[in-house]
Symmetry: C2
Subunit: 358 residues, 2 copies
């Protein structure tokens, strides 16, 4: 109904603000103002416009709106993978908060590849979102830093902000909101827990030189060892990605190499722990009877395998990222920065080691 006859088309079209204006007998400017924000308007006009909107089932075109107002209510999030539980939870937090704030949530994945992350940021920039949230694990080399720095400034130029979520700042020259999580503290607590139970040789699963989230954990691990006066044996730090099958592989290879030279395991996340556990069980080693274990994340697999682990506030990381970005967009000033904490969740995968066994 009430389609402009002057523009005949085969398919129906979305009604425009002009049609609404015409229908209500006012100008487009009036419709625009009434619809966006509560601008002074006489009650009569307002209700006429509202009725026209209803009758035509009018929905504003966001692209026209974004173009004219140079602002698109949307938040972009870039993660390694949607499947990985940690990222999924962070994404859920972002999504929830974005929805609450009436923002569209745009998502992109990188597979953990720094190059693809950069391309994704570039791609997202075209969309002019209010914020681009970068989550997680990436190997930041110099080339990466310089490109990301360029992009950060480009984003700034279009009034969008970069948010680093669960990772440290990229440097003073890279404008970004930062929402960190205390991975070093978490790893310290995990390792201390094992040390307090008498363990001395603790396998570290998930070392990844260059990757901030792994490096933060190993720093905590080493710090705990030092605090307990236990010498650090680099041979106990095993390289691998944060996936289940990698946890399995790392442990398997270790066991294949000879008799176990460790009594406990600290896994960089629960997935790794689950894989490691499987490898141990296949070799007839029980958890915690033969080997104690602490994971990281406190996500689904942890409960199923009764894993003592470190909780990190996944969803809150996402929510905070959105909140701070939006606040910063509102208030301006230097980009805010915050650090969220972690804590130990005790289940049944750690057993005290008798003095004789040490």
């Amino acid at each position: 109904m009430a389609r402009k006859a002057s523009r005949p088309e085969d398919g129906a079209r979305q009604s425009t603000i002009r049609e609404v204006a015409e229908h209500a007998g006012v100008s487009v400017a009036t419709v625009s103002r009434i619809l966006s924000g509560n601008y002074p308007a006489s009650p009569a006009t307002r209700s006429r416009v509202m009725r026209a909107v209803k009758e035509l089932d009018y929905v504003a075109n966001v692209h026209a709106r974004a173009l004219a107002g140079s602002k698109h209510k949307s938040i972009a999030i870039i993660v390694n993978s949607v499947i990985s539980p940690h990222y999924a939870h962070v994404a859920q937090g972002v999504q929830t908060m974005a929805a609450e704030a009436g923002r569209l949530c745009q998502i992109g994945t990188t597979g953990g590849d720094a190059e693809r992350e950069l391309d994704m940021v570039r791609f997202m920039r075209e969309q002019h979102p209010e914020a681009v949230i970068l989550v997680g694990n990436v190997n930041a080399d110099d080339e990466y830093r310089s490109r990301m720095s360029r992009y950060a400034h480009a984003l700034e130029a279009i009034g969008s902000r970069l948010v680093l979520c669960g990772r440290p700042p990229l440097g003073p020259d890279v404008p970004a909101v930062v929402v960190e999580c205390d991975y070093t503290g978490g790893a310290f607590a995990a390792t201390s827990h094992l040390l307090s139970a008498g363990h001395r040789r603790i396998l570290f699963l998930g070392q990844r030189p260059g990757y901030t989230t792994a490096e933060a954990r190993i720093a905590g691990y080493r710090k705990a060892l030092a605090a307990h006066g236990v010498p650090n044996d680099p041979d106990l730090e095993v390289d691998g990605t944060f996936e289940r099958h990698e946890g399995y592989r790392m442990t398997r290879e270790r066991l294949d190499a000879g008799t176990p030279d460790f009594t406990a395991v600290f896994a960089c996340n629960d997935q790794i722990a689950a894989g490691a556990r499987q490898a141990l069980l296949e070799r007839g080693l029980g958890v915690p009877d033969d080997v104690s274990m602490v994971g990281f994340d406190d996500l689904p697999p942890a409960m199923d395998i009764d894993l003592t682990t470190i909780y990190q506030p996944h969803e809150e990381l996402g929510r905070t990222a959105v909140r701070l970005a939006l606040e910063h967009a509102e208030n301006g000033g230097p980009p805010p920065r915050t650090v969220l904490g972690t804590h130990l969740v005790i289940r049944g995968s750690v057993r005290p080691l008798l003095p004789a066994q040490r």
Copy 2:
């Protein structure tokens, strides 16, 4: 560099196509054509334009492009939750395929609420994506059907299409691409597997009247019972959502009610199975020693708890949804429809029942 002096601002701006044109000494039309599609242009002009683009670090404004070309390269996906493994995998498939096709991926969650799903569709419509993909489990009442039908037509009107992924068509009057998955067949295979192992009293966990994904499964369950000549006992069909804690609750309540009157469990997904298993273990019932179990999904928890289950092609569902939508946008014609299969994955959670135990 080369900023228009006539428009002085505090912050830097993104360069426009006009600036690129000026910089390259050609018209904006030429730049536009060279950038989008391979329009005939002399190599000299092309390279001049390309160089200008590089030098100005020009990125087209998608909103302007969408407005002028009335097309935005984007795909919207609406799921219950990003956290739920099944949805996460489907979303991963969508995201992957969308990225391959150079599309932006927009995501929204509903928490399994039909009302919120409708609102989300409405919201997504404002963004003019090429497709809106609806995944999963929702209670479709008449009110829902009628609103969704309206939205489907509204989407059609703006050249966008609705995609139903992992759920049946809504009716002949609702234009939509449909990518189903054979849940009935999967449930039939699962139940048959248990029946063949001699089980007769099989608990069905996850009944949800009105929810298509649950109803498809129970249809398969009943069909298998009938095929084996086993009478259907409605009392064995337990209501609950598809979450781990619900699996725990349903089983717990069952066990609390008296001595177990079943020898096997079919869980509507692996999460439910994991929760059920925990409840059984807490009561001293082993899987599969005391109770056999088959799940659905073949996702992470399945491997950890050595669960025999039904595989469904999660990511492929997502990929297919995007592919069909894009193909349909290209070719037109009636909306395509397809059904993907499932298959049994045998692990160690089912044990044959001795004839004496039946």
